[in-house]
């Protein structure tokens, strides 16, 4: 017995119009200048964990765009979620199939009684002018899998492994390469179709019994051929056409994002197939339970898609992804943060945990030993502020501060539970900020210095 316990999704605020690249219709989601696969994974995971009362035993981060090539990336997500250090963390990288592989592994771990948070997140960067750039997208989705039926129980699965050179990227290559699509389709269509059939057989159901089929592959020809090759009705490929035009293919997170979208809409008893073909294939079939209705995250995928800035300039996009050299800000480069102070400030920096005075109840941000309100010494308890309501006390637009996307919008933010913080705003139109605006906190990558990815929290208008 294993099933999905919770899920959450995240689509960044910015969209790049394909017309801006001369690449046809629709738009792709673009991680902001201060986002990466880790920060987006945190956002999706917060969505999944917010209403989850159970514990997590393992955290797995699936991506093809890990910020660190050496150093565990999952530990940052682990810290941001304020998980107990006994919870294990690992990265599952290098393949677009990583997300569903991690999910499959997590289902296995469920049989050992362990609950796993799978955070799939990707920032898909393609060479300018190529299909990976225009058809790719940036997004994240988190699925918590554990023992018990949960909100969607596993009813069938199948797996294939094939050593086929389709998509690859080696050290020193800025962009992935892909072999001719016609060859890929020749190999992958029958393999993927047979994996889907095997999963249906494992579940003891037929293609007609499915309510949703969520398929993903690195090769668009494969996706187009699967309905006919498997006999699954075209209308069951929920979200496929819509997301291609609004998000783009979100790499290792794509299948999980489709799954989140299907769970946003599923009724109890719905049978949902999710499969990915890349370096082989993994296919899982779930059946939604009665528990789903009360376990949905705050934001549906549709909510994220509706909340956007859709006129991102192509040059800004290229600059954010490090593709286009640009005139640096006329400020010194930021210093890399130092390891010991980051370790000492871990719960503040990553999980946004402040301190609350047990004598006078004042919230102190960042955490203090001596209370700013009553000067009591060492009478503090931790207080989680990441989900606290907050509002703009006052603000300014800083045209001089270092940023990859000037100007910096900075605000003095007051929290409803108490406490105040000077912080940067993001996903915001500088002209639209006003005193009293309601904000929410979001986990971001401030800058990269000396190869160190510096993460902390910013405030954004409510999405």
């Amino acid at each position: 017995m294993a099933g999905i316990q919770r899920y959450g999704s995240y689509v960044p605020f910015c969209r790049l119009q394909r017309s801006a690249i001369g690449a046809g219709k629709g738009e792709r989601a673009a991680a902001s200048y201060d986002e990466d696969a880790v920060s987006m994974a945190v956002e999706a995971s917060r969505e999944a964990m917010r209403a989850f009362e159970g514990g997590i035993d393992r955290l797995v981060f699936a991506t093809t765009s890990a910020p660190y090539l050496e150093k565990l990336n999952a530990t940052t997500i682990h810290a941001a979620l304020d998980l107990d250090s006994a919870v294990s963390a690992s990265d599952m990288t290098t393949s677009s199939r990583s997300g569903v592989v991690a999910l499959s592994d997590a289902l296995d771990a469920s049989h050992a009684g362990r609950t796993t948070l799978v955070a799939a997140s990707d920032v898909v960067v393609g060479a300018p002018g190529g299909p990976r750039e225009s058809q790719g997208g940036d997004a994240a989705a988190t699925v918590v899998v554990g023992p018990g039926d949960g909100i969607a129980k596993l009813i069938g699965r199948a797996s294939r492994t094939e050593e086929v050179l389709d998509v690859w990227r080696s050290e020193g290559m800025a962009f992935a390469s892909q072999w001719e699509e016609r060859f890929g389709a020749e190999v992958f269509v029958p393999m993927f179709a047979s994996t889907i059939q095997a999963a249906l057989a494992d579940a003891g159901i037929s293609a007609d019994d499915l309510d949703a089929a969520l398929i993903d592959s690195t090769n668009a020809r494969v996706n187009r051929a699967i309905p006919k090759a498997t006999g699954i009705a075209a209308e069951k490929f929920l979200g496929a056409a819509e997301f291609a035009g609004s998000v783009g293919r979100a790499g290792a997170a794509n299948a999980a994002l489709l799954l989140a979208n299907a769970l946003d809409q599923a009724k109890p008893g719905d049978k949902i197939l999710v499969g990915v073909a890349a370096d082989g294939a993994d296919v899982l079939i779930f059946e939604a339970t009665d528990a789903l209705a009360d376990a949905r995250p705050k934001h549906s995928v549709a909510d994220w898609l509706a909340s956007k800035k859709d006129d991102l300039a192509y040059t800004a996009y290229l600059k954010w992804r490090g593709v286009l050299p640009f005139e640096p800000p006329r400020r010194p480069d930021p210093d890399r943060p130092a390891s010991p102070p980051m370790m000492r400030a871990e719960r503040w920096k990553y999980a946004f945990v402040g301190s609350k005075c047990t004598k006078c109840s004042a919230v102190n941000l960042p955490p203090q030993r001596v209370c700013v309100a009553c000067q009591a010494v060492d009478e503090m308890e931790p207080v989680q502020c990441a989900d606290a309501q907050c509002r703009v006390a006052t603000y300014t637009i800083d045209r001089l501060a270092y940023s990859l996307q000037p100007p910096v919008v900075a605000a003095v933010v007051d929290f409803s539970e108490g406490g105040r913080l000077n912080c940067q705003l993001t996903d915001v139109d500088p002209e639209s900020v006003g005193i009293g605006d309601e904000l929410e906190m979001t986990f971001r990558r401030f800058f990269v210095a000396g190869g160190v990815h510096n993460y902390f929290w910013k405030a954004r208008p409510q999405r």
Binding site: R330, R331, P332, P334, D335, P337, A338, P340, P341, M342, R344, A345, W348, K349, A362, N364, L365, P366, Q368, V372, A373, A393, T394, Y395, T396, I397, D398, R399, L400, A401, Y402, V408, A410, V412, D414, G418, G419, R420, L421, N422, C423, Q424, I435, F446, N454, Y455, F456
Partner: protein, 392 residues
């Protein structure tokens, strides 16, 4: 406050100040040599008569050696002090207490900063302290720009009027600086040009910001009873206050960005030491920390020169003009004279020195009795503040 003060116990008997500005051809050492020798000459002393030195610099050097090596100080104490933008005033304060204590007979306070070698506009962090990477990274103009909308909101001043008030402050300080051969910017600037200057942060344009510059200034201090051995026209310290706040404005929602509690506290302390009851009436003139135009506006109220909510009217009415009832920043202030951090507090005192001795030329204020210098470092809600009162 527990400070007892040293009213009329310490005198300044000589001062020196370089021109402030872009000294591409001069090093930190050159500026120190220029200011120190200017001050020695002013006091009529030789270097060997100075018993101890206090050197103020934020980021142009570390330790007393920054001054000892270029000045060839012969095995005497040189103390490096730093308190952000109030560093120069901190050098004066420590030197004053040193001679007041009797430990030394003659002390020099000297401040220097060389900002223009960094290659960046505005101030850049001095760095050095290992960081956890959680700072918001706001610049000084952004932090101080928070004062303007808060002031307008609290006192019902519309933004267009406030814009003119801020420009009036910059206009006044440039008017004064245009009459000062040592100022960085020695020209008047029209209200229209100030109003239209390119935006830096919030409503602040480049013309709302103090000049980033290089410079140095120095003072020779002795006990009051010795003052007339050096000059017929010494000036005397009436009050000296320095406070560091607990930075609660950045952490507590009660703080509303229309005041600097640190300034209020240091003014209260300095006035008590100097026996001042009504600063608006008793202070003849002041050099205040006009790092950005709204800072000067708020300072007028924190220092007691204007009633709360009235400084904008007093500014527009010309009260603080060179020929007004209470001239503020007669030398041009940080705005026009420039702001080489470690030197600024001493530069403020240099103008008091000139004015009280009747040596301010075209800028001379008629028969001033008491002058005030105010210097702050940090940002609204989180700062240090210095206030001195000096007189004949």
């Amino acid at each position: 406050m527990g400070s007892k003060g040293i009213c009329d116990r310490v005198a300044i008997v000589g001062m020196g100040c370089t021109k402030f500005g872009e000294h591409w051809g001069k090093s930190v050492s050159d500026l120190l040599v220029d200011a120190a020798h200017d001050a020695y000459h002013s006091a009529g002393v030789e270097a060997e008569q100075i018993d101890a030195y206090w050197l103020g610099t934020l980021s142009s050097g570390v330790s007393g050696l920054t001054a000892a090596e270029p000045l060839k100080i012969q095995y005497k104490p040189v103390t490096h002090v730093e308190n952000m933008c109030a560093t120069g005033s901190e050098a004066i304060r420590n030197a004053a207490y040193a001679v007041a204590s009797g430990a030394y007979d003659v002390a020099m306070a000297i401040g220097v900063e060389k900002l223009k070698d960094s290659g960046f506009s505005g101030l850049v962090g001095s760095g050095g302290v290992a960081s956890d990477g959680t700072e918001a990274g706001m610049t000084a103009p952004a932090n101080f720009s928070l004062l303007a909308p808060a002031y307008a909101e609290k006192y019902g001043v519309d933004m267009e009027t406030l814009r003119d008030v801020l420009s009036r402050i910059a206009y006044k300080n440039h008017y004064n600086g245009a009459r000062n051969e040592k100022a960085q910017f020695q020209r008047e600037v029209s209200m229209e040009k100030i109003n239209a200057s390119p935006k830096v942060a919030g409503m602040l344009g480049i013309m709302d910001c103090s000049g980033v510059s290089d410079g140095a200034a120095a003072a020779v201090l002795v006990r009051a009873e010795d003052a007339h051995k050096y000059t017929d026209n010494p000036i005397f310290i009436k009050g000296l206050s320095f406070v560091a706040g607990p930075a609660e404005g950045t952490k507590r929602q009660e703080y509303d960005f229309t005041t600097f509690p640190e300034v209020v506290a240091s003014a209260h302390d300095a006035y008590a030491q100097a026996g001042i009851k009504d600063a608006r009436e008793e202070i003849s003139m002041a050099e205040v920390h006009d790092c950005f135009t709204p800072t000067e506006l708020v300072l007028m109220e924190d220092l007691g020169f204007s009633e709360r909510g009235q400084a904008w009217k007093d500014t527009v009415d010309g009260r603080f003009d060179l020929k007004g009832e209470q001239p503020i920043n007669p030398d041009g202030g940080l705005k026009s004279f420039g702001h080489p951090i470690g030197a600024s507090g001493l530069r403020m005192m240099y103008e008091m020195w000139l004015q009280l001795r009747g040596e301010a030329g075209e800028r001379q204020i008629e028969n001033p009795k008491l002058g005030l210098t105010h210097n702050l470092g940090g940002q609204p809600g989180r700062c240090v503040s210095f206030v001195s009162v000096v007189g004949r």
